[in-house]
Structure formats: structure tokens, C-alpha cells
């Protein structure tokens, strides 16, 4: 099976995908434009059986074993395609961040791994804010306009029962750990107006503290994925500019419900 998409500006094609995995992959990447036919400059990733393993190769010496672990093949392929697109993109900063659209504009949610970014992003989405992206948020370099990154959310943890009750059933065709879906690449997104840095903290109800611009710039720079096109000085300059034009808060909470309610009150309150 041959499948091709444009992801972050890069035309990427996956060759040799079994039909079942191809169907799941189409579901996961449904928000990206498909390429039919694929243009000549398309980057091909080819899937081949190698003994008991499945190897993905890029024709330029890179090869990845995509048969290991509990994750389905479609998840491995999706990860490699997205990773390849990020590696090749020189026009955007890609942040480890959730993003939702609030009344004032787009709110980025950043934090260390395990701090609760996905939980908080899901909570805000489930309470009516439009989902712009899962934990990867592209920002156009220079203008710092955020973009929808239509990769389905990866729900691989225990979530609040209150949150789970609000999430509609997973559509058919999604691998077990993916849902919900943020929309389509190219959907308009408002400029960034808010930044929430989430941390585990001692407060069950969640507590917000205003964050200084320098700390916000520092945290944003840390959240940028260090791809081969990453330049620390340029990234910092852009993140300083972004921090200067948005409202930043540190949110500490020991519960996802407390974090969700506090963040929602902040964003819905304008």
C-alpha cells in the first residue's frame, strides 16, 4: 500500500504498508493533505520485512525497526513520518506543547514530561475550547503564528473520570491509544495570547502564579524540539518575542481536575 501526505511542508510517502496498518495510518494522519500523485521531490520511507522484523528505511542510510513494543505498526509509522517532517522543517519551531483556542486567542500548554499537558489540554477541549494541537505545536518562525497540527491525541495514561465522561466514544479505525482529533492542517488559528506552564504541585485545587517574561521565554525555548535546523540564538529571540506579547502563568496542581478548572477559569474569564 502506498500512502503520501504533506506534513509541515514536507511531502512524505510510506511504501509497502500492509492494508490494515495503512487504514489506521490514514485515520491518524487524516488531518494532513494527501498527495495524489506524490510529487517528484517526495521523501520515501519504505517498509520491508527483515526476518522476524519490520524495517523502515529512508533510502539515505537511516533504518528503524518498527516491529517492537506494544504499539501497533501504524503508531510506529506515524511517529517516523512526523519525526521526519520535524527534522526537515526549517520554517517553523515545533514545540512540545498542547494548544487550545480560548476567547483571547491561542493558549499554549507546556511542561515537563508527565506534568499533565495532555490531561489539561484534553480537559480544556472537553469543556468547549477548540483543540489546535496535541503535544506538538508548530509556530511559524518570525511571525510566531501557531498552526493546527492535526495528529490525534495520544491517550496513554489514566485520566480523570470527570474528563473521561466528557470525551465522546473513539471512532472506528483509531488505534486504541489515539483520540481525539484536532482538526485539519491549515485551519486558521489565532495568535498566541496565553502560556500555561504546568507543574505537579501541592495544591489539589490548582494554583496560578503570573510568570515573568524572561522565565516564560526560557521555558518556551526549552520546549522547542532540537531538530537539525534548531538554532538556539534564533529560537531564543523568537521565544522572547512571544513571551513579550502573551500572558504567562505557572500552574501547579496535584490533581488534573484542579488544574483543569483553574486553567479553564483563567481562559474563559478572558
Amino acid at each position: 500500500m502506498e500512502l503520501a501526505w504533506r506534513i509541515l511542508g514536507s511531502p512524505l510517502r510510506c511504501l509497502g504498508v500492509p492494508a490494515a496498518a495503512g487504514g489506521e495510518l490514514k485515520s491518524l494522519l487524516q488531518g494532513f493533505p494527501t498527495l495524489q500523485p506524490a510529487p517528484a521531490e517526495t521523501i520515501d520511507l519504505r517498509l520491508d520485512a527483515d526476518g522476524g522484523s519490520l524495517l523502515l528505511t529512508d533510502g539515505a542510510g537511516e533504518r528503524w525497526d518498527v516491529s517492537g513494543g506494544d504499539a501497533p505498526l501504524s503508531s510506529h509509522l506515524e511517529y517516523r513520518l512526523v519525526n521526519e517532517a520535524i527534522r526537515r522543517d526549517s520554517g517553523r519551531w515545533i514545540l512540545h506543547a498542547g494548544a487550545v483556542a480560548g476567547p483571547r486567542g491561542t493558549c499554549l500548554v507546556i511542561g515537563e514530561s508527565g506534568a499533565g499537558k495532555t490531561s489539561l489540554t484534553l480537559w480544556l477541549w472537553a469543556h468547549g475550547l477548540r483543540l489546535a494541537t496535541d503535544d506538538l505545536c508548530p509556530l511559524v518562525r518570525g511571525t510566531l503564528v501557531p498552526e493546527v497540527f492535526p495528529r490525534a491525541l495520544h491517550m496513554d495514561a489514566e485520566y480523570s473520570p470527570e474528563l473521561n465522561a466528557r470525551i465522546p466514544p473513539r471512532p472506528a479505525g483509531y488505534p486504541a491509544d489515539y483520540y481525539p482529533f484536532p482538526g485539519r492542517a491549515g485551519d486558521p488559528v489565532h495568535p498566541v495570547s496565553d502560556l500555561i506552564v504546568i507543574e505537579r504541585g501541592p495544591f489539589p485545587e490548582g494554583r496560578l502564579e503570573p510568570m515573568g517574561q524572561s522565565e516564560a521565554a526560557h521555558r518556551l525555548t526549552q520546549a522547542v524540539i532540537k531538530s537539525p535546523t534548531f538554532d538556539f540564538g534564533q529560537a531564543l529571540a523568537d521565544m522572547i518575542a512571544l513571551a513579550s506579547r502573551c500572558r504567562s502563568h505557572l500552574l501547579r496542581s496535584s490533581t488534573p481536575e484542579g488544574a483543569g478548572r483553574t486553567a479553564f477559569a483563567l481562559l474563559a474569564g478572558g
Binding site: G212, Q213, S214, E215, A217, H218, T221, F232, G233, L236, A237, I240, A243, S244
Partner: protein
Amino acid sequence: MQPREERDPKIGLESGTVFVLAPGVRLEPLGDGSAVLYSRDLDQSLSLNHTAALLCSYADGQHTIATVVQEMSQIFPESAIDEEALFDCLRDLEARRFLRWS
């Protein structure tokens, strides 16, 4: 507050010491009074609060610590300047190679 006169032989820091940003280090002031220090050589940045940002704004190779304390006292006449905290901040920045004595 009197400037500290005793010398720390390990650090070489005294009130007459002049300090300067290390080569390749840039101070980026922000609108809220905080600042970011960026080292191109280290590929690292530091977030500075208002006081540290103000302190680093004197890192021009001209100001001694004593003159900085004096100027800060004029800027904040109602507050006692914690000279030890300034020394600690400078030592920390020097240890991180963002600052050096000249």
C-alpha cells in the same frame, strides 16, 4: 549599607571587583524588567529576575560591586540592598560562565 571589604581568596570577589559579561554572552532585557542571558558559546540561556537583570546591566567592565550597590541604593532608597545576595548572584553567574571578573 557599607560595602563588603573582606576578600574571598577562592573567588577573588570583593567590593572593588569589576565584572563583565563573558565573551559571546548577551543580555536581553524584557518589558517587565526581567531579562534573559544568552551565551552563544555555551548554547544556553538563563532567566533573570528584576534584581539579577539590573545587576547584569552593570556588567560593563566599568562598575565595581561597590558602585553598583551605591547606584542600587539610589534607585531603591526605601530598601536595604542585600549585598551578600548580589555577591552570591555574581558568583553563580561566574560559575556558570556567563560572567567574569575583569
